[in-house]
Amino acid sequence: MSVIEADVDARTAPRPLPARSAALDGVLTMVPLLAAYIPFALVIGAAVAEHGSPVAGWAGSWLIYGGSAHLAAIRTLDESGPVVAITTALLINARLLVYSASLARRWTAQPRWFRFAAAGLIIDPTWAAAERHAGEGADPDAQRRYFIAAGLTLGAGWSAAIAAGAALGSGIEGLDVEIVIPLCLMALIGPALRSSIERTVVVSAAAVALLTAGWPAGTGLLAAVAVGSAAGVARERAVAS
């Protein structure tokens, strides 16, 4: 058995966890992330308030469930019209295909109702948290409870913060605490950094993200995903040979 196979087996080996603790873990994992995302949600709320249809804008907190795409949709709608707004937001959210495909590999034993319910809650922090939790060896039942609890916690807080931002109005546009989000996300993907293959993925994706930062919305991120994945596969082959 190769090192890689052993690693994969260790990740996927089921480890029974108390169901209640899995749900509680999901909630507790999301609390600091939620705190990190609140300023961003307030800014989106302020943008929603400035827009002509605040209820429709707020509804995006659950319907789109992705801050960058939500904000881009509202701002681009005013500047360039509906077609450009929809295209830009969908391009930004195209990365969700990757998260969902990744979780599909983890969730082969999950029931159909869960895949439908969970689909609406997949976003960067919930993906990273679910991957980390599954990597610790949680069984399918615990993974299910953990993900639903984490997704609903983040979603409820996110939606409430956008509503608060809409109520407070444009006075909060100056909030500047962006450093909190990368610190939280970094802690979630931290365990991956112990593997040389995933370190290669991280370094390659970060480099491409920096180089393509000026590209149109969402496209640089997709380029970083493509290059990071390819670098990971190449490194995996090099390690195996």
């Binding site: 600091p32 827009h51 249809s53 804008g57 995006g60 319907l63 789109i64 469930y65 795409a69 949709a73 709608l77 509906p82 929809i86 937001a89 969908l90 959210n93 969700l96 295909l97 969902s100 495909a101 990744s102 979780l103 599909a104 895949r115 969970a118 689909a119 609406g120 960067d124 993906w127 962006e178 450093i179 909190v180 989000i181 990368p182 610190l183 939280c184 996300l185 802690a187 993907i189 931290g190 950094l193 293959i197 995933e198 993925v201 991280v202 994706a205 970060a206 993200a209 920096l210 640089g220 991120l221 970083a224 995903v225 290059v227 990071g228 994945s229 390819a230 670098a231 990971g232 995996e236």
Partner: protein
């Protein structure tokens, strides 16, 4: 018009989330595609971290941001809890920002 845009983006985003969960449940991917997917999520979050940090690292905030990220990386590799990583990163950020402000006086 806002409702139309929100509903269209919401529907498209939901399909992005749902289709792989339904399709990949039934279809087994070639080994190469499976490997790409394994690393793609990690690459996407890394890109988001990078872009978010880049947005913050401007002017006087550049050095504090880089130092906080450095501490965050060390804490992440050591598998520190998110709370500890956040507290350590923010403390370094605050101290560096304060130091720069004092020097600038």
């Amino acid at each position: 018009m806002t409702w139309l845009v929100i509903l269209a983006v919401g529907a498209g985003s939901f399909l992005f989330r749902l289709v792989p969960l339904l399709v990949l449940h039934r279809v087994s991917l070639p080994e190469g595609a499976d490997r790409v997917i394994r690393y793609a999520g990690c690459a996407a979050v890394t890109a988001l971290i990078t872009l978010s940090a880049r947005g913050n690292a401007t002017g006087d905030a550049t050095l504090p941001t880089l130092l906080a990220l450095g501490v965050g990386i060390v804490m992440a590799v050591r598998q520190a809890s998110m709370f500890r990583a956040l507290v350590a990163g923010l403390a370094v950020y605050a101290m560096a920002a304060l130091l720069i402000a004092l020097i600038a006086r």
